[in-house]
Symmetry: C2
Subunit: 406 residues, 2 copies
């Protein structure tokens, strides 16, 4: 039996992926750029065992046994095994390719929070498969076939996913463009919205936008191309103010083409829009006092949660502002409302207090905040105690609190 | 003393006006098309008196004395007087042009409902000025200088506002393109949302969109031009299904460019989006049973209220659906919730019941519904009892319930 355990991060796009040119290979209509987030606060974890004694392939996800028949998982598995078989003479994996596989995955962050867990999940699965079969080289194009944005979670820091030109998708890969510390002391605050509304899944939503939105044609052919170039320039020049403006513009444009879809795909809700308005007002205050490096920016994926990029120097102030504008529910205290990197919300100036009060919401509009930072790519955990599978049986550990019975 | 009393209708655009090419003359960046609504349910009413004995110009709006210094009112007044003076020898208005003027205006529909009252208000003001000074010919380009969309309220039925090409705006006029009964037995249901959020005024919003939205460039240069042509074809051919699709697409596109604005202009709220989604689902049911002529469409102006165009054959069903999906607040009954043309909501099929329940909202998300229809242009009321001004004093009538003290 051979066992590996890996973790992989979540990533948040600042130039958004919305729309495919190939549904099966998951090839996007435009390049995208993302920040990979720290695995200390949010990550997917996967243990893979292969053994000649296993009777069949098995898969457990978040404590529940699932079918491995999912075509996206099968595509990833097939592609990794194909790559492994091409170099089986050097690597000594010959034979192991015929062994059955046990896969156990879970996310360490709350599910049902609307946080794209599939990116971290597929990046982790593919990275762990790569480790178990001894694959070298880029795995981003494999992860892409599990979930498009998963390819960006294969690397840390700032990552660009190239849409590529080839029909077979071989050049639709992700590459790091700046290390995690590129914008020094940058923090990330995720505002998890308490949302009761139904969603349109992003696969269906993207398809519908591509088919029905006229504005999408302009986004793809003109707008996002020039914005991506401007974003790369802003990143290279560490122009934080420009980076913020481009990030908010691209988030707004993505949600605009979703609104321009028939029927419309609506992901932001009233709370999301109130957070966005508050950030613009906060930036007005900072800009008026000349602190453009204290600018905060928001971005929203296909869900109501705001992801805020915040210079470390103002994170305490921002947390104070959010707590005042979006008071926690009566059953929460500061510690359960602000999770992640421990930071006390700082006292607000009179100006910021009145700003928060102006946008003030009833309690409970946000479930909680996750305070995290930018981080590195997937990790291979050498500590065998981290394994989600029992190293003797290859079945999920009972003591893991997984609630999985072997 | 000479006195006239006129009423003028509200209009609802199906191809939206959003963005000016000239802020002072109020010249739009694109053509727009609207339905003029019946004055039985919603209208503006204006009485104008001119007299050689008046000491000064005076203006009362919704029961409150206001300054006439507003530059938009002054522009309308100046332009009407200029036209009158050009033909003073024929019309015998010479002399009266120097008399002071008393203007008293009010809306017969609830204020603070977010229903564009300025279109009806300025159309009424300009139409009444035209009557009092004996102006003949088109007044739409004068009304336009009060409030852009007011020019469309100068005519009944379906109206097109041509953006025009001239710098002086002389060809930016409205013209009827089909009479009120063009789509026979068409009804209109306005869903007035109970909205607590702040708005961006449309003048500021339009300016911001034109300056910051990249998608707006495409809307103006490509999208809205071809959609306007398609809309005129659909209207001429009485293709109701196509008319509905184009109306919803243009509303969605307008709100998309608003979302693409920096900072975003957000006019629709969670309730608005739920109404829109319900209409799409209702249409799916109707289309599945082959009734494309029973299709309903929505359009949203720069506010959260849905305006629905509904074939008369299904208006009872739609009212039933809305009442079930958006139950009135506990203090309301059906009569205070559904205002306007009296119609009983009909019983729903099991399919529609479950559709309403799926989207079901807490009570009070909508304030009330206004059930109305398409109507004609401004009217000159010959019945002197309709006057808002006392015919002997030229001051607001006390018995009018205006709350105006003379």
């Amino acid at each position: 039996m051979k066992t590996v355990t890996c973790t992989a991060p979540v990533n948040i796009a600042v130039i958004k992926y919305w729309g495919k040119r190939d549904e099966t290979l998951i090839l996007p209509l435009n390049d995208s750029i993302s920040f990979t987030l720290s695995q200390d606060e949010m990550c997917a974890k996967t243990t893979i065992s292969i053994s000649p004694t296993f009777k069949e392939d098995k898969f457990w996800l978040n404590g529940k046994e699932e079918s491995l028949e999912n075509p996206r998982i099968q595509n990833c598995l097939k592609e990794v095994r194909r790559r492994a078989s091409k170099r089986k003479h050097e690597s000594g994996v010959e034979g192991t390719l015929n062994w059955h596989i046990h896969i156990c995955s879970k996310n360490n962050f709350p599910t049902a929070a609307g946080l794209a867990s599939s990116a971290a999940g597929y990046a982790c699965l593919v990275y762990a498969l790569g480790q178990v079969y001894g694959i070298e080289g880029d795995l981003s194009s494999v992860a892409r076939q599990g979930s498009g944005s998963a390819c960006r979670s294969i690397y840390g820091g700032l990552v660009q996913w190239y849409k590529g030109e080839e029909d077979d998708g071989t050049d639709s890969v992700a590459r790091p463009i700046a290390p995690p510390g590129h914008f020094p002391d940058l923090r990330v605050v995720i505002c998890v919205a308490n949302d009761g509304r139904k969603k349109t899944g992003s696969t269906i939503g993207m398809r519908r936008t591509v088919l029905t939105s006229r504005l999408m044609q302009y986004r793809i052919q003109e707008s996002v191309i020039s914005r991506t170039a401007a974003m790369i320039k802003a990143i290279k020049e560490k122009d934080w103010s420009e980076f913020c403006d481009l990030t908010m513009a691209d988030s707004n444009e993505m949600h605009a083409v979703c609104q321009d879809t028939s029927p419309p795909c609506v992901y932001m809700n009233d709370t999301s829009h109130t957070v966005a308005a508050l950030i613009h007002q906060y930036n007005d205050v900072k800009t008026a006092s000349g602190n453009v490096n204290h600018k905060v920016c928001y971005t929203f994926d296909a869900g109501p949660n705001a992801c805020l990029f915040v210079p470390g120097a103002v994170v305490g102030e921002l947390l104070g502002l959010l707590m005042r504008a979006f008071p926690p529910s009566p059953t929460q205290n500061t510690d359960t409302y602000i999770t992640g990197i421990p930071t006390q919300p700082t006292d607000l100036t009179r100006e910021l207090k009145s700003l928060a009060d102006e946008d003030g919401q009833p309690t409970g509009k946000l479930k909680y905040l996750i305070h995290t930072k930018v981080g590195d790519g997937p990790r291979d955990l050498t500590d065998s105690s981290a394994s989600l599978l029992d190293l003797s049986t290859g079945l999920p550990k009972q003591e893991d609190g997984n609630g999985v019975s072997p």
